[in-house]
């Protein structure tokens, strides 16, 4: 049985913000991650604030500038099968389709996918680790097969989301509404590295609700994809992966978003690779060079050095697929 909590289902965003500002309140979108965390005692909830009554936060609609607005409560299944997203922002459609299982995509939302808690087995298990406010990171001396090779310090989770990296590559923004009003920020800025604060994954303050994701209009000659490598062919978190959002003009890369997944506590943007690609024709040599650069500076732990060649290969393959 789940631990006991109060249930609140607001009908407006401002009521949701108010309910979420209360101590011990947790937002419930699809509930697929929240209920798992509550069941396993990862954290507790005095109250569960269900967002499911907020119809304004559901659905996908075009914006005036030719972009797309995706309500935070839109399910991953809807994102994955939306023909407009598959055409204009393929990395996102593929990321959503590659996440979790059919049932979880039917229930899990885009907002929840970005705000989900990490899957580190110590964190999910009975360990009072650093991310839960304890003293140590058990992954350092322990089992770290699925942990970070970039960006760790004090905590070495990998960000579990398959939509976050595509959204960063696509330079998407999110809108957040909280007690102090609304703000917009790049998806990239939503996430927090452990060096800044190892007890949280997003910058969301108590009471803040992620209300929508905004995709900028597709660039001319836009191409993209999301490549996810996992142990099984379906239903598994990424061992490593890469989201690409390129635009090609006159045979040359005009702009590039290259963001790794499954290897760092946040979606891991590699600006050096983005810079390398711009202005050049994408061919096998460039892809190999870019892949090499993408894993430069990787710091594998005792059990996850396989991730270095894995991600390198994924980047090269993904770039070649777009060449």
């Amino acid at each position: 049985m789940l631990p006991s909590f109060r249930y609140v289902r607001p009908r407006t965003v401002s009521e949701a913000v108010k309910a979420l500002a209360a101590e011990g309140a947790r937002a419930h979108a699809g509930g697929t991650d929240l209920l798992g965390c509550l069941r396993d005692g990862v954290f507790d909830a005095k109250s569960v604030v269900s967002l499911s009554g907020l119809d304004d936060l559901k659905g996908i609609s075009p914006t005036k500038d030719g972009g797309l607005k995706i309500g935070a409560l839109t399910t991953l299944a809807e994102v994955a099968r939306h023909p407009g997203i598959a055409k204009g922002w393929p990395a996102l459609a593929q990321g959503a389709a590659a996440a979790a299982s059919p049932q979880l995509r039917n229930q899990g939302t885009l907002g929840g996918n970005l705000c989900q808690r990490p899957r580190c087995w110590y964190f999910r298990g009975d360990f009072d680790c650093a991310r839960k406010g304890g003293e140590i990171c058990y992954a350092v001396e322990g089992e770290n097969t699925y942990h970070a090779i970039f960006g760790g310090s004090g905590c070495f989770i990998v960000h579990p989301s398959d939509t976050a990296s595509p959204l960063v590559a696509l330079r998407a923004t999110v809108k957040v509404v909280g007690p102090k009003g609304a703000r917009s920020l790049p998806v990239e800025k939503l996430f927090v590295l452990p060096a800044v604060d190892h007890t949280r994954e997003t910058i969301l303050a108590p009471g803040e609700v992620l209300t929508e994701v905004l995709l900028p209009p597709p660039l001319e000659g836009a191409k993209g994809l999301y490549r996810k490598v996992r142990s099984r062919g379906a239903w598994d978190f990424a061992l490593g992966g890469v989201a690409l959002a390129l635009s090609v003009k006159d045979g040359k890369v005009a702009s590039a978003g290259v963001v790794l997944s499954g290897v760092a506590p946040t979606p891991w943007r590699v600006p050096e690779v983005e810079k390398l690609l711009v202005g050049k024709a994408l061919d096998a040599k460039l892809a190999a060079e870019a892949a090499e650069l993408a894993v430069k500076g990787a710091e594998p732990m005792s059990g996850n050095d396989y991730k270095v060649p894995l991600v390198k290969g994924a980047v090269e393959e993904a770039l070649l697929a777009l060449a």
């Binding site: 789940l2 909590f5 509930g31 798992g36 979790a100 059919p102 229930q107």
Partner: protein
Amino acid sequence: MADGKDDRNDLDTNGGVSRRGFLGSVVPAAVGVAVAREALSAPAAAPAVAELPAGEPAKLTLVVNGRTHKVLVEPRDTLLSVLREKLGLTGTKPGCERGECGACTVLIDGVARYSCLTLALEADGKKVTTVEGLMEGEELGPVQKAFVEEDAFQCGYCTPGQVMAAEGLLRENPEPGLDEIRHGMSGNLCRCGAYAHIFKAVDKAARFRKER
């Protein structure tokens, strides 16, 4: 699906007192009907916030397999536990209760979801279909029939969930190819490894549904 049929007969929401139905309905002794509130079924002038205190049961209207049930639920009750323990619909199976195995799969508004990760209160106002609801009178429905004909199980524990996942898949995509079947069924694990037969059964079920 003898199990499913029994459940249906067993369960008469209009006061049927089969043993299971009675045990399931817990109402009088534990909480007293007087405190049961209909907290969440939005009244005419819907308040801005619907709310239910921790541990306090409220009367929830659930539509399951076309029948309307009133059940007492508290905030932490999952749809899985309410289906099994309060409505006696034990076709829906508990497995991992963490979204990993698919044994608990049901349809909510026609879409496959895990009932273990769904609060009962979240099914408020939605149509729930369980494996019992796929029966066509006394006959097995097309997906159930295909699973039997293709011998798509060994121990059978995962089967109700597999059947519901297949039903959800076929409602969305009536003619899936093998690859689509494999992906569509990827949210359900089978410890006995009956996958090859399960995929065949889904393919056959698609044909049965078309011939109907």
